[in-house]
């Protein structure tokens, strides 16, 4: 190209133009996958230390999109693709910020705002149910009926159960903190033993809760404040033994002159 020119190409103009066109660069192979991940059309996953064993976490530029307990990455990817119709691949390098956010969320010694979640593919009702589950503090449980009541649809208990069962981000969105009205640890997509392990890891005592439920105790009250709570409510746990009253339902509690706690919001009357 740095010759003055030839017969066919006086002045070397064409050769120079060819040389310039030869400067076209190939984009790196990482470009398209990175773009698709950033806009949320493809996902990557990492494995983090969960409260009850390893946890697979899928994410894209919109937020965390799915989790699954365990280490079966192939099964995770297969279920993910079947449900979300997006590719899922192992992350090239662990996303430091996201891993730190998840660790903070799971750290019992810290309060943290939840990371961003990508809940595309869920219904409005499902998202409302998941948002309610997220309000339940670590180590506490609430019945399905409580979630339904909080959403103003007290009859939708089964629908609440179904929505929690479809939680795409278990463990991080704590659907395991929702239990039967008698505190039974029913229906968990990853198995009841895993639900028990998660609650135990958070400092709840699942066996004691189930024992209470079998004996028919639904609420704890304090005879000094005359307030009744769900047994795991932080206020109930402050009541000392001598002042602790047990109620089998809201009707019994209100008949005894107790009012519902404003923090854990048990039903006001038979519910």
């Amino acid at each position: 190209m740095n010759r003055p020119g030839t017969h066919d190409d006086p002045g070397g103009w064409r050769e120079l133009a060819d040389g310039l066109h030869g400067l076209r660069a190939e984009p790196p192979a990482t470009l398209a996958p990175a773009v698709l991940e950033r806009v949320g059309l493809a996902d990557a996953f990492v494995t983090v230390d969960g409260p009850a064993g390893p946890l697979l976490v899928a994410y894209n530029g919109r937020g965390i999109s799915a989790t699954a307990p365990g280490t079966d990455a192939a099964g995770f990817a297969e279920r993910f693709q079947a449900r979300f119709r997006r590719p899922l691949q192992a992350a090239d390098r662990p996303p430091a910020r996201l891993v730190a956010q998840v660790e903070r969320l799971l750290d019992p010694g810290r309060r943290s705002t939840p990371p961003r979640y990508d809940l595309r593919g869920t219904t409005e009702f499902e998202r409302a149910v998941l948002a309610k589950a997220q309000e339940i503090p670590r180590g506490q449980v609430r019945p399905y009926a409580w979630v339904a009541g909080e959403l103003g649809q007290p009859a939708a208990v089964r629908a609440v159960g179904a929505a929690l069962g479809r939680n795409p981000i278990p463990v991080l969105i704590p659907c395991h903190r929702v239990v039967g009205s008698d505190n039974r640890l029913t229906g968990y997509a990853w198995g009841v033993p895993y639900k028990r392990a998660l609650l135990a890891a958070e400092g709840a005592d699942p066996e004691e809760l189930e024992r209470l439920g079998r004996r028919g105790t639904r609420f704890f009250g304090s005879d000094t404040t005359r307030i009744y709570c769900y047994p795991t409510c932080s206020h109930a746990r402050r009541v000392t033994g001598a002042h602790l009253q047990r109620f089998s339902g809201a009707a019994e509690a209100s008949a005894a002159g107790y009012r519902p706690c404003r923090v854990c919001r048990p039903p006001a009357l038979a519910g």
Partner: protein, 192 residues
């Protein structure tokens, strides 16, 4: 150069289903353009990523009619060029090369390759041309890159740069002439 595709119409109907195609079709132009402006490959990849991310969100916000009528290539080139210029502005300017008084950078002899085969020679020519291109005034360089490196027709180059076609033609012409003169000057110096 690029066949008139139905991609804008498909994007209008189903952005998520067609966006990958947009990236695949236009990544070479977007990355290539970014690379000729910012020079560093890692920076160019970031600029290219940002270009497509911005394009996605813009397309998601436009109504279907507008998307269907879009001319994607000049639009993407314009976004890429703006982002690349912004990145350049945030970066400290490179050290000015030592010049010999005639406006020519002082030639620093590169360590000689053991066996200068044809491939190495061609690579050297390519690097020399890239270096001379990088030394053009910005307006000329951008016009030359769009027209001759990326092969856009003058009308699109004008659209991307927001200048009249006549002006763009002049800039391309002047840029190419300067490249040719500098190449010849080098050649003469090499010959002694």
């Amino acid at each position: 150069m690029e066949p008139q595709s139905e991609l804008p119409a498909r994007l209008a109907r189903d952005l998520d289903g067609s966006f990958e195609e947009l990236v695949v079709v236009h990544q070479r132009l977007v990355y290539g353009l970014a690379l000729r402006v910012v020079a560093d490959p890692a920076d160019a990849e970031e600029v290219a990523q940002d270009t497509f991310v911005r394009a996605y969100h813009a397309l998601a916000g436009y109504d279907a009619q507008r998307v269907a009528a879009m001319r994607l290539r000049p639009w993407l080139a314009q976004i890429a060029l703006n982002l690349a210029r912004n990145r350049l502005r945030r970066r400290p300017p490179p050290a000015r090369p030592l010049e010999d008084g005639d406006g020519q950078p002082v030639a620093v002899p590169a360590p000689a390759a053991a066996q200068p085969d044809q491939l190495a020679e061609r690579r050297q020519e390519r690097e020399l041309l890239a270096e001379l291109l990088a030394g053009l005034p910005r307006g000329w360089r951008e016009a030359v890159v769009l027209r001759h490196v990326e092969g856009l027709p003058y009308a699109e180059v004008a659209e991307v740069l927001g200048r009249p076609v006549g002006t763009v033609k002049t800039h391309v012409h002047r840029g190419v002439r300067q490249l040719r003169e500098r190449l010849q000057a080098r050649e003469e110096r090499v010959r002694g």
